[in-house]
């Protein structure tokens, strides 16, 4: 063994789909040394009461996240575009089903 220090394995993030048709939602995280173990641990940890029909596990270091410090600049392009929302438009009095 090539000097691997005793540890709990890598961190994996777990996403659970609660029923067909719904999106996978982040449930939490866990430790595992490989993908099969990650999947089985996820089942035992996050779906002990039939909470899911499908599980995704993703190594934490494979996730790219935006940073809180950049929130302002990063989301800025969407801030001043009220015309992207349906409520921006004025409908004629009495118009229905729109």
């Amino acid at each position: 063994m090539d000097n691997i220090k005793d540890n709990q394995g890598d961190v994996w993030e777990v996403f659970v789909q609660s029923k067909p048709g719904l999106p996978h939602k982040h449930a939490g995280s866990l430790h595992a040394t490989d993908k099969e173990m990650a999947l089985q641990n996820a089942r035992d940890l996050y779906t002990r009461r039939n909470e899911g029909t499908c599980i995704w596990v993703v190594p934490l270091n494979a996730i790219v996240s935006s940073l809180p410090d950049d929130v302002g600049a990063f989301f800025d392009p969407a801030n001043d575009k009220a015309y992207r929302h349906p409520t921006h438009y004025v409908m004629p009095e009495g118009a229905k089903h729109i």
């Binding site: 063994m1 090539d2 691997i4 005793d6 540890n7 709990q8 394995g9 961190v11 939490g28 995280s29 866990l30 430790h31 040394t33 490989d34 173990m37 035992d44 940890l45 002990r48 009461r49 996240s65 940073l67 809180p68 410090d69």
Partner: protein, 313 residues
Amino acid sequence: MEDAKKLKEFQAKIDAEIKIEPKDWMPEDYRKHLQRQISQHAHSEVIGMQPEGNWISRAPSLRAKVVLLAKIQDEAGHGQYLYSAAETLGKSRDEYIEELQTEKAKYSSIFNYPTLTWADMGAVGWLVDGAAIVNQVSLQRTSYGPYARAMVRICKEESFHQRQGYEIIAHMAQGTPEQKAMAQDALNRFWWPSIMMFGPHDSDSPNTGNATKWKIKRETNDELRQKFIDKTVGQAEIIGLTIPDPDLKWNEARGHYDFGKMDWDEFWNVVKGNGPCNKQRLDHHKKAHAEGKWVREAALTYAHKEKQKQLVA
């Protein structure tokens, strides 16, 4: 200067009920307080498996046994959720476990009491889990996102624990005189340690300070304790058991039960490591961890070899 500005923004978020997430700036004391509190909470879940594990092979029926197994499995899961939340604060799982084993970190003192009879399984579920639920319901609104999310998940699962405990003790309280005596004895032994689980009086609680200002704690020790007592008195009455406190009585003016003095000398003595089972609990944890070493090594080696194979292929 920079920090003063950040601290102000941080407090503004807290005041506006915006949760703090792992990558957000936070004061060092906030981080430290959470590392201590969440890991202590995680250790309690894991050590809490031991007093109940004691009864798996002695459960009085197959139903009782599968229920107990499911409950203990939940406790293991709760420990996992909490360690994960604690790890988002920049300390590894291995470090937290080492802190527990070297006694730098604590766990709830309640688990340093022995579980002597089957009725104790009832008392633990009813009172110990019951007290934990009161605390955890309150913590669902804690200001740190990962901790709050773990609490929501735990609270959903925990109510089965309390109900199964109450079912056991209610069942025994209606049994033979010996069984009823056993139920009463369990209540007698677990009552005071359970209400002391909420920690010292607010007037001498060393860790409150900023915890309230930063909304880590949403209710004080005394408020939570009172809630638990108010809920539990009627549950004892209905099954014909007597809470071992002669000073316990309804106070119409306050709208709460008054209760007697807790023995804080005993509490601190157990916290300091002199309870009936402190040594046993920690020794067992170390032994189980050491015995699992070859499994972790095998798994890590296997993962390493698989990776090598992929590189070659």
